[in-house]
C-alpha cells in the first residue's frame, strides 16, 4: 500500500506495496473530495486476499471514505477502485449490485432497519435473493446468529439491543450472504473491553475459518496491533503501511506518537 499525497514532503512506504495481482481490493490514484475539502489525494493502495487489513488514522483522514468507495456507495473524483478484479468506478448501480454480493459491510451504528426485528433484518437479504425457501431462510438466520452468539435476540427490535449485541447482530447480517470481502467501519467504537475482545475474536475467526478478506477501519490501536496482518496508517499528507511489528519499529515521530498515544489511551 502506498500513498503519494500531493504536497507531501516525503511519502512514506515501509514495505513493498501489495501488487495489483495479489490485491483482493485495490485503489489506484484515487482522489476524493467533499465540496472543497479534499479527503483523499492520489491514494494508491491494495488489500491482500484472505488477510486482515486495518486502516488507522485520525478523524477526518478519509478512513471511512475508503470503505464507502470500495462498497460503491460513493464514486471517486478520479482514479480507479478495483474489487475482486472488477473496476467499479464507472459501473452502473445495477452492475455494482452484482459486485456487492461478494461484499459484506458492518456499519458503525449497525444500520439495521429499526422497524424490523432481528430475524427480519437478517432474513431480508436472503428473501430478496429469492432462491431459498422460508425454511432454509430460517435455518440460515439461526446459524448466522448462533455464529456471533446472539441467538436469544432473534425476536427483538434493534432498539432493544445493547451496543455489543447490536454490533454482533449487524455482523451476523453482514456475513449472512457469505461474502468474500468484509468491510468493517469502527467495529470497536463505544464498546466495553469485554465486547471489544468478543468482536475481535469473531472477526479473526471469520477470517481464519472462511478466508474472508477483512478491511477494518478502526481507532482502537491495541486491537489493531493484535489482529491486523497489515496496517495502512493515514496521516494527513502522508500514509504509512506495513505489518504491526514494522509500524512499531518506524522511526517517524508522527507515527510513533500516534501509536503510543493510542496504546496509552487504551491503558488509561
Amino acid at each position: 500500500m502506498t500513498n503519494i499525497a500531493k504536497g507531501a514532503s516525503e511519502p512514506h512506504t515501509i514495505t513493498s506495496p501489495v501488487s495489483s495481482a495479489d490485491a483482493h481490493v485495490a485503489l489506484e490514484h484515487v482522489r476524493m473530495a467533499f465540496g472543497r475539502r479534499r479527503v483523499l489525494d492520489d491514494l494508491s493502495c491494495g488489500f491482500p486476499r484472505g488477510k486482515i487489513s486495518v486502516i488507522l488514522g485520525p478523524s477526518g483522514s478519509g478512513k471511512s471514505t475508503i470503505l464507502r468507495l470500495i462498497g460503491g456507495l460513493i464514486r471517486p473524483r478520479s482514479g480507479r477502485v478495483v474489487v475482486d478484479g472488477q473496476d467499479i468506478t464507472r459501473m452502473s448501480e445495477k452492475r455494482i449490485n452484482e459486485v456487492r454480493r461478494k461484499l459484506g459491510m458492518l456499519f458503525q451504528g449497525g444500520a439495521l432497519l429499526d422497524s424490523y426485528t432481528v430475524f427480519d433484518n437478517l432474513a431480508l437479504p436472503l428473501r430478496e435473493k429469492g432462491r431459498l425457501t422460508p425454511r432454509e431462510i430460517t435455518q440460515e438466520v439461526h446459524a448466522s446468529l448462533a455464529a456471533v452468539g446472539v441467538s436469544d435476540a432473534i425476536r427483538l427490535l434493534p432498539r432493544e439491543l445493547s451496543g455489543g449485541m447490536l454490533r454482533r447482530v449487524a455482523l451476523a447480517r453482514a456475513i449472512i450472504r457469505k461474502p468474500s470481502i468484509l468491510l468493517c467501519d469502527e467495529p470497536f467504537s463505544g464498546l466495553d473491553s469485554v465486547s471489544i475482545k468478543h468482536i475481535e475474536s469473531l472477526l479473526t475467526g471469520i477470517n481464519r475459518e472462511s478466508g474472508v478478506t477483512l478491511i477494518i477501519v478502526s481507532h482502537h490501536i491495541p486491537s489493531t496491533m493484535r489482529m491486523a496482518d497489515r496496517i495502512l496508517l493515514l496521516m494527513g499528507q502522508k500514509s504509512v503501511e506495513g505489518s504491526p511489528s514494522e509500524l512499531r519499529q518506524n522511526a517517524d515521530a508522527d507515527v510513533a506518537d500516534f501509536l503510543n498515544e493510542g496504546l496509552e489511551g487504551a491503558l488509561r
Binding site: 464507502r68 462498497g71 460503491g72 456507495l73 448501480e93 449490485n97 452484482e98 456487492r100 454480493r101 461484499l103 459484506g104 459491510m105 456499519f107 458503525q108 451504528g109 444500520a111 439495521l112 432497519l113 429499526d114 431480508l124 437479504p125 430478496e128 447480517r173 450472504r177
Partner: protein, 258 residues
C-alpha cells in the same frame, strides 16, 4: 450589480438542477412501483400509516370547515332570500376547491412530514446505505411503497373530507339555523355535476397526491445525514409541498375551466 446577477443565476441553475434530479427520482420510483416484486406488504403498512392514521384529523377538519361554510353561507344567502341554495354553495365550495386543497394540506402536515422524517432518519443512521450494501435498491424498497400509498390515499381522504364537510354544512344550515332539509339536499343534488365538479376534484386530489409523495420522499432521500438534516427535510417538505399544492390548484382550475 453584476455580483447579484451572478448569485441569482447560480441559484436559478441550482433550482433547475434540483427539479431535474427530482424528476429523475420520480421516474425511478414509477419504474420501481410498476416492476416486480410489488411489495404489497410494505404498501399495506404505508396505507395504514398514511391513510388510516389520518382519518380522524380529516373527519374533524372536514366537519369543522363544513360547519363554517354552512354558517357563513346561510347568513350571506339569507340577505338575498336564497338560503334554500345553501347545499349548492357548501357542496360546490367543498368539491371544487376546499376539499382537495385542504385535505392535501392536512395530509402534508400529518403524513408528508412523517414520510420525509422517516426516510431522512434512515439516511442519517445509514439504513439506506445498509440496504444498498445488501444489493437492495432503497428507492424500490423504501420510497416507492410510501409514494404509491400516498397517491392512492389522497383521493380517498379528499372524498371523506368532502362528505364530512357536507355533513357539517347540513348540521349548521339545517340543525342550528333551522333551514329546510329538503332544499339543502335538492340544491346540492342539482348544482353538483359529475363531469365538471366531481371529476375536477378527483383529478386535483390525484395530482396533489403525486406531487406530495414525490416531494416528501425526495426531500427525505436527499437529506443531509445529520439530525439537522432530518429537521430540514421535514420543514422543507411541508413548505414546498404546501406552496406547490396551492399553485397547482390554480393551474388545474385554470386549465379545466371554472
Amino acid at each position: 450589480m453584476l455580483n447579484q446577477v451572478s448569485v441569482f443565476g447560480n441559484k436559478s441553475l441550482r433550482a433547475i438542477q434540483e427539479l431535474g434530479s427530482m424528476a429523475v427520482f420520480a421516474g425511478a420510483m414509477a419504474i420501481s412501483a410498476l416492476k416486480p416484486p410489488l411489495r404489497l406488504g410494505s404498501f399495506k403498512r404505508e396505507l395504514y400509516k398514511i391513510g388510516v392514521l389520518s382519518l380522524i384529523i380529516i373527519c374533524i377538519s372536514g366537519f369543522a370547515v363544513g360547519m363554517v361554510l354552512g354558517l357563513q353561507g346561510y347568513h350571506t344567502l339569507s340577505r338575498f332570500g336564497a338560503q334554500h341554495s345553501l347545499g349548492a354553495v357548501v357542496g360546490l365550495s367543498l368539491i371544487r376547491e376546499l376539499g382537495p386543497v385542504l385535505a392535501a394540506l392536512l395530509v402534508i402536515g400529518r403524513a408528508g412530514s412523517a414520510v420525509a422524517a422517516e426516510i431522512a432518519s434512515m439516511v442519517a443512521t445509514e439504513q439506506l446505505d445498509g440496504l444498498r450494501m445488501l444489493s437492495i435498491n432503497p428507492i424500490d424498497f423504501v420510497a416507492a411503497p410510501k409514494a404509491v400509498a400516498m397517491l392512492v390515499v389522497m383521493p380517498l381522504l379528499t372524498a371523506l373530507f368532502i362528505v364530512c364537510g357536507l355533513a357539517g354544512g347540513y348540521v349548521t344550515g339545517v340543525g342550528l339555523m333551522k333551514g329546510d332539509p329538503g332544499s339543502y339536499m335538492a340544491s346540492l343534488r342539482y348544482a353538483v355535476d359529475f363531469r365538471n365538479d366531481v371529476s375536477v376534484s378527483l383529478i386535483k386530489s390525484i395530482a396533489f397526491g403525486a406531487l406530495v409523495s414525490i416531494i416528501a420522499t425526495y426531500r427525505g432521500y436527499t437529506s443531509t445525514p445529520t439530525s439537522e438534516g432530518v429537521s430540514a427535510a421535514t420543514t422543507s417538505t411541508v413548505v414546498i409541498a404546501s406552496v406547490s399544492v396551492l399553485f397547482l390548484d390554480y393551474v388545474i382550475t385554470a386549465l379545466w375551466g371554472i
